[in-house]
């Protein structure tokens, strides 16, 4: 994917639109929104901190614009199905909430409108302060872009971080978190496991958590990947196998039943002081430092994820918001105004303070903020080094993810060996890619 050219076109359109606005005097949200007052925009939200943050800020938006945002909340695991059914059926959603692994899917089906098209169609709605270059390039590219086109603006943004219990580590004689995965297992593992306490917990439940948080997390740092350059399974390569075997071995330092743990269980075990280290999304910061839900609030410290032989490859995940093509003109205009407002640099700090994680570089420039929100340095560092195709983002991912979820968990349970499981995933993954037309040349090899 050519990130530079994509950013250039977008910047160009933005510049043109901005110029148009500059000529017509000062741009104001209220004025731009005036023709669309009373429009209702339907959008799917999740029950997560970033969404609650924007919901708290929403009344100001509605008051200024007269645009109503109708929020339909779903658990993450239902959100994709809900939106796919709505878009297939030509339903009511005006904004798509896109996890980075759904973007290929939504874009190829043309359920979402490229940002450039919106800007070209509604030049008067483009905020001169939009400044696309202010988004972390990796995040904008991975969460919002597909095939050299930007569709969505990054909204609810995560990087995998290492949360560690400083007190437990100090007690065991460590004055710093592990630098590498190997160190975590060989040195920290035995020292921190025992008496009902565990060194580490890796959420591995059989849903997207298994494929994203568990399987992929161990693949990349060891130099492995899902696919090779020909789009054949790379899971049997020495590197991929090393990563998956490492995960298997590391389980001795994790609580039993880790295969059934989702984020909630993992974060809770950490917050109760049962587990010394977890690798979790940045979004959990607010709950582990809240004394009401966390017994270890004072001990929480944050570092980037450990590195593997192939370097630091932290998990990457997050959501963008894009205008839905099924919306009518007024709804599209209103939807754009909302997306632009919710992801704006002007609102980024407030969003952060209310528990969201913005993707605006400018929001993190204030060193005072990094003192309050101790995850910021690790987050910013992670967003410099992430792999956009941490999980392939093409349209076939949801199907492949189902396969990874099934065989990844069976592998962890020891029902099949690592090699057998990887072979099984590989075969089924290639069947899916075959029928999608990647091998016959019908489809470009983009992930």
């Amino acid at each position: 994917m050519n990130l530079k050219s994509m950013l250039c076109t977008t910047a160009l359109v933005a510049a043109t639109a901005t110029a148009a606005n500059a000529q017509s005097g000062d741009w104001s949200l209220a004025e731009a929104a005036a023709p669309y007052a009373g429009t209702t925009v339907d959008v799917v939200f999740l029950l997560r901190p970033g969404y609650e943050a924007i919901q708290e800020m929403l009344p100001a938006f509605t008051e200024e614009t007269g645009i109503n945002i109708n929020i339909i909340t779903h658990p993450y695991e239902n959100a994709l199905g809900e939106q796919v059914r709505d878009f297939v059926a030509g339903g009511d959603l005006d904004i798509a909430l896109i996890d980075l692994v759904w973007i290929g899917n939504f874009a190829e089906n043309e359920w979402i409108v490229p940002v450039d098209d919106i800007m070209a169609r509604f030049p008067e709605l483009v905020d001169p302060a939009l400044n696309m270059d202010d988004f972390f390039p990796l995040v904008l590219n991975a969460f919002g872009g597909w095939n050299d086109v930007i569709y969505g603006l990054p909204f609810d943004n995560y990087s995998g971080l290492m949360f560690y219990n400083r007190c437990m580590l100090e007690e065991a004689g460590f004055d710093r978190p592990p630098e590498t995965w190997q160190e975590l297992m060989d040195v920290y593992g035995p020292a921190l496991t025992g008496d009902g306490q565990y060194a580490f917990a890796l959420q591995s439940k059989r849903n997207e958590t298994q494929s994203a948080d568990s399987f992929a997390r161990m693949l990349w740092p060891f130099g492995g990947s899902f696919l090779n350059e020909e789009f054949r399974s790379n899971l049997l390569s020495a590197e991929s196998q090393a990563g998956l075997n490492f995960r298997q071995e590391l389980m001795q330092y994790m609580p039993d039943g880790i295969v059934a743990w989702d984020h909630a269980e993992t974060v809770n075990a950490f917050a109760q002081g049962e587990v010394a280290m977890i690798t979790e999304w940045s979004a959990f910061y607010s709950s582990v430092v809240d004394p009401e839900t966390s017994r270890v609030a004072d001990c929480v410290a944050i570092a980037p994820e450990p590195a593997g032989p192939a370097g630091r490859r932290p998990a990457l995940g997050g959501f963008s918001l894009a205008v839905a093509s099924q919306a009518d003109e007024a709804e599209q205009a209103a939807a754009w105004l909302f997306i632009q407002w919710a992801t704006s640099a002007a609102n980024a700090v407030e969003y952060l303070e209310r528990g969201g994680v913005p993707a605006r570089q400018s929001a993190y420039s204030d060193p005072a903020l990094a003192e309050t929100y101790t995850f910021i340095p690790a987050l910013v560092e992670s967003w410099q080094e992430g792999v956009p195709e941490f999980r392939p983002r093409f349209a076939e991912w949801p199907e492949i993810s189902e396969v990874v979820q099934e065989w990844g968990t069976r592998m962890m349970l020891g029902e099949v060996s690592v090699e057998e499981g990887a072979t099984e995933i590989g075969t089924r993954m290639e069947e899916i890619l075959e029928s999608a037309g990647y091998y016959s040349g019908d489809k470009p090899l983009a992930q």
């Binding site: 059989r206 039993d256 295969v259 059934a260 199907e399 189902e402 099934e406």
Partner: protein, 288 residues
């Protein structure tokens, strides 16, 4: 013999429900049959094409599908005998004379599990069987059993809840059968023998057979349909240890979005259901 009724009259009585069921029951089925012959993936509708019986071929040769089917029947084979044994025991206790008040109370309590929303049973299971803060391990004397995260234990947990929810049904059906036994016949038998087994086998059993048949039919159908409770409790995990047939079809159709394949699976499930229902009804239920 009953007289003939005009077609018009018959239709006036039965027509509305036939039409209603045909529209809401058969139309979707036909649609599903059509889908099953196509490559029909919700996220790749542009590739929609006729593929003949390819989906069926995939299903019939897919080990995972038959494993899920086998798991479903294994669940039936595990929980139904338990339900029958416990249900019969409860029915026999309730059938004993005396202690009327407690027995009325007991009968009322038996109604509760059956009426409980299946999804809520699953949610309740999550709370009660949690390894750390679940009450189940506490009641087992502070055991540290990992229920939800271990394949065998998770299966046992599903059996537990299925038995909890449906044993009362079996018990009440069998109890009703027991009360059908004419009092004098039972008394006469009791004078003949002291063995409760002989009485059960030769006096009471004939009256229990119709109830047992109904239980068999309904439990088989409900196990093939089983979705809500498992969906909220384990979602089919860990691994695939509790992925029963309806969960699998839901996963293929609504999570992997392969509607063609899911429809083929659903049609095969439907055929199995109809064949089983036919056999049961032909063999045991000779009414109509």
């Amino acid at each position: 013999m009953r007289g003939r009724t005009s077609r018009k009259t018959i239709f006036a009585f039965i027509g509305p429900s036939v039409i209603a069921l045909a529209l809401i029951g058969i139309a979707p089925l036909l649609y599903a049959a059509w889908t099953s012959l196509h490559f029909f993936n919700l996220t790749r509708l542009r590739q929609l094409r006729f593929v003949g019986l390819e989906n069926y071929q995939t299903v019939l040769t897919d080990g995972a599908f038959w494993q899920a089917m086998g798991r479903t029947f294994f669940l039936l084979g595990t929980s139904l005998p338990l339900q029958l044994a416990l249900g019969l025991g409860i029915a026999l206790v309730l059938h004993q004379p005396g202690l009327t008040l407690v027995k009325t109370l007991c009968r009322l309590s038996l109604v509760l599990p059956m009426a409980t929303t299946y999804a809520v049973v699953g949610l309740l299971g999550q709370v009660m069987f949690n390894q750390n803060f679940g009450v189940m391990n506490q009641l087992l004397g502070g055991a540290d059993i990992n229920w939800i995260g271990d394949p065998t234990n998770a299966f046992i947990m599903i059996v537990f809840w299925d038995v909890w929810q449906w044993t009362p049904f079996v018990a009440l059906v069998l109890l009703a059968g027991l009360t059908m036994v004419p009092g004098e016949v039972e008394e006469a038998a009791r004078l003949e023998t002291k063995s409760w087994w002989m009485i059960l086998r030769y006096v009471q059993l004939p009256f229990l057979v119709p109830g047992l048949v109904a239980v068999l039919i309904l439990r088989t159908a409900d196990t093939l349909k089983l979705f809500d409770m498992v969906f909220t409790l384990t979602r089919g995990g860990p691994g695939a240890s509790t992925e029963f047939i309806s969960l699998m079809i839901q996963r293929v159709g609504f999570r992997a979005f392969d509607q063609g394949l899911a429809s083929a699976q659903a049609i095969i499930l439907l055929i199995i259901t109809i064949v089983l229902a036919r056999i049961y009804i032909r063999v045991f239920y000779k009414e109509v």
